[in-house]
């Protein structure tokens, strides 16, 4: 199975461990990722706030480049996924817009992309039994708080799961042998793009999420979005927490379960160290 791969900027810099682990687990599961040549900015949080044309032109050009590699596109970053899926949804339902956008990007995107988050690839395109067979180090004794954030579950046209009580991550973690906690902060705001502009709001909002994970005795939080990861991981020493909570990409936990080498997953890049906890659980 082959996918065009759109890593997005976060996975190239701040969240390179998400990139590394995504490539590693998908390769292990027999999924080939081919990075889209010359991919560029999806527009992130700026374009759609400032310019109506750029809002769709940037994702559309990326999609046009992507489908030349493969109609099926893997997008691990929740923000990129959100931008690409929203534009794609608009273009698939508005011929006039598609025509205008194609003129402005000087390309001929047909609205034929299938955009998927790696979670969807793993859960929908692969057989559960095949995945189970490949688990060599089940995440037994590990209590995981699955945190989805906002961009994976809203709005409906870009969502990969239920907006109020998503369960995809929980299902995957359960399959890997981990226990997941039933908590109320799965989709609570982490502070999003305020990380640099207004650190205090991140400390407040992400702090609440972390506190509830601690109350529920979670060993770690599993995420599927670079921004969620940053906000939860970055300022824990400035928050009023009983203890620190390692924040792990789901691909890292999956990688460990699949028996991949700890160092190859680059888990040590996180601010809050996870190794001690993972050692204790016998997962390293």
């Amino acid at each position: 199975m082959e996918y065009a791969y759109y890593p997005g900027c976060s996975l190239h810099v701040m969240s390179s461990e998400y990139d590394v682990s995504t490539r590693a687990v998908l390769a292990r599961l027999g999924v080939t990722l081919r990075e889209i040549p010359d991919w560029f900015c999806c527009g992130a949080s700026s374009a759609h706030m400032t310019d109506a044309v750029l809002t769709d032109a940037l994702p559309a050009k990326n999609l046009a480049l992507a489908v030349k590699v493969n109609q099926r596109i893997a997008v691990p970053c929740a923000a990129c996924l959100h931008r690409l899926k929203k534009t794609d949804h608009k273009l698939k339902n508005d011929d006039a817009l598609l025509k205008n956008v194609n003129e402005s990007i000087k390309d001929n995107y047909q609205g034929n992309a299938q955009i998927k988050h790696p979670l969807e690839i793993i859960q929908d395109d692969l057989k559960t039994e095949e995945l189970s067979e490949k688990i060599t180090r089940p995440l037994n004794n590990l209590k995981v708080a699955c945190y989805y954030g906002c961009l994976l579950v809203r709005p409906a046209e870009a969502a990969i799961d239920d907006a109020e009580n998503p369960e995809r991550l929980d299902r995957l973690m359960n399959l890997l042998g981990a226990e997941t906690i039933n908590w109320g902060f799965k989709v609570e705001c982490c502070g999003a793009g305020m990380t640099l502009a207004h650190k205090e709001s991140i400390i407040g909002l992400a702090g609440r999420i972390l506190n509830d994970a601690i109350l529920n005795e979670a060993d770690c939080i599993a995420v599927a979005c670079p921004m969620c990861h940053t906000n939860l991981d970055l300022y824990q020493d400035q928050m009023d927490l009983k203890r620190k909570v390692p924040i792990l990409y789901f691909t890292e936990l999956l990688g460990l379960a699949l028996g991949l080498d700890y160092n190859s997953l680059e888990i040590d890049k996180h601010i809050v160290p996870a190794k001690g906890m993972l050692l204790e659980k016998g997962l390293v």
Partner: protein
Amino acid sequence: MPRTGVFVCHCGSNIAGKVDVETVAAKALNFDRVVFSTTYKYMCSQPGQEVIKKAVRDNNLDRIVVAACTPNLHGKTFQRCIKTVGLSPYLSEMASIREHCSWVHTDPDEATGKAIELVRLATAKVRKNVALLPLNIPVTRRALVIGGGIAGIQSALDIAAAGFEAVIVEKEPSVGGRMAQLDKTFPTLDCSACILAPRMVEVATNEKVIIHSYSKIEKITGSVGSFEVQIKKKARYVDLGKCTGCGTCTEKCPVKVDSEFNLRLSTRKAISTPFPQAVPNVPVIDPHHCRYLTLGKCGVCQKVCQAGAVNYEDKDEIIIEKVGAIIAATGYDLFDPKKYGEYGGGRYRDVITGLQFERLINASGPTGGEITRLSDGKTPKTIVFIQCVGSRDEQKGKPYCSKICCMYTAKQTILAKEHIPDVQCYVFYIDIRAGGKNYEEFVKRAQTDYGAVYIRGRVSKLYEQEGQIMVKGMDTLLGEEVEIPADLVVLATAIVPRREARTLAQKIGLSYDQHAFYNEAHPKMAPVENLTLGIYLAGACQAPKDIPDSVAMASAAAAKICGLFSRDFLSIDPIVASVAETCCVGCNTCVAICPFKAISMEIRKDRTGQERQVATVNTSLCQGCGTCLPNCRSRCISLNNWTTDQLYAEVMTI
């Protein structure tokens, strides 16, 4: 030679503001057989009708056209008007120059032009109208009441009091409806069961009332005055005549099932009555859970029954009742809060609905009147009530206000405080709608005397934390976020029609709105009638309604029916189809196509003694819809005063 008068109405500025009525009247004088025309400010008013009467007398008019609103609104008004001066009511026509002209067009010239054309058509048609005689049909003086809740009970009692029979069909094993599930009633805090039970007993013992409980409407045919109702009496497996209601069978039955009556807050037995005061006080066996009926083993209830009333061989039975009028009193269901993922979507045990709360505080409820949490059985010290769950929410729920929730939530805060003196209640609301006698005062009392804290705003989210339900919301008056740790959360879910409302309506030809609430014939002037003649509405099947409104509506519907039953014959419009038997080829097309099943085939002998079949119209069933006309291949069906000839006359005059 017909002499037609044309009367153009201003309808205040409704018509005259757009249509040049004087021009319409002037032009009308040029139309064929029109000898008089005039305008008046309100033609339907008493002086307006005098204008018509005077013109008829002075000008020797023999037919009239009123250019005004639609015949639905005032057709009858003008028919009655000319009847008083000796003209046949059927020699009048209306041209709808309000609904079809002034209200829908913006350009005055075009509107006036169209109004003139509509008047021209009406004059062409009325020229060929015939002075029909009204049809008299016999009336079966018994009424069917669908639903045995408080509305159904009240209307049956009122009809019986007037000396007519009423037949109640109730789908549950007992009458009583929603009111039987409630604890106390606002704003007087009367015990619901205490005021309902006497009515239930009264209806059960009234000679004029027949109750078919645990029964469903299968099919209704016929029309006003003579309906035929097929009722399916579901197998109870307990003989209504023999059972003494001793309750031993229920006591000994080994099978426990979730109780529907207690909204799954407790269990019931496989043989049971829904509640202790049930009428009839005869249990039913639930065939899906009874051990004997599913596995062929057990039979305990039959063994212990002293009266020998248990009969495992019981079968569903179809019975026929003939009635002259029908009251739909089917009541309401509650919106399923599962759609609200942010309120847990049913995942949190300590988030319950208002009706579940009623069962919890009810002395005969699953906890004997103790308010306890379903999760751990503890007594809640903080209760949060959330109003408008599903109401006034176009995104996830219904656009309408459910009307009763503000009141019952206030009541529940009062009752909670009476049950648990140190409880603190919070109510999240959008607006408080407490229109009604002593209603606003009651809500005020909940706040001042019982300490309920009202917070104006929506709850954005509920989540569990350390054994409590965290209620996160907005206080829009303070402009602040609030978070309240609650022990129990009660959702005031929207009132929706019964799940079966649509199917039932389609079975009996009731019209209903987009939510499946049954339509009244006119929102102001005919609020208890349905558009289908002979069918009346009572209670919350028409719109969300509280008990006093339901009872009032039930009595009103009963009064309408008593009026109908006060005559031996019912006079109905003679606008019905008829068949010219000489040219009918007996093709059967009309029989198949008639939506009212009013046409049937009959055998006729000609002079040579040869037999052939011809169509015949049952005039009491025919509604004059005209569907058969264009489908008749030999063009032998005709509709009184809507003949092909008349329609051609209209078309040819354009």
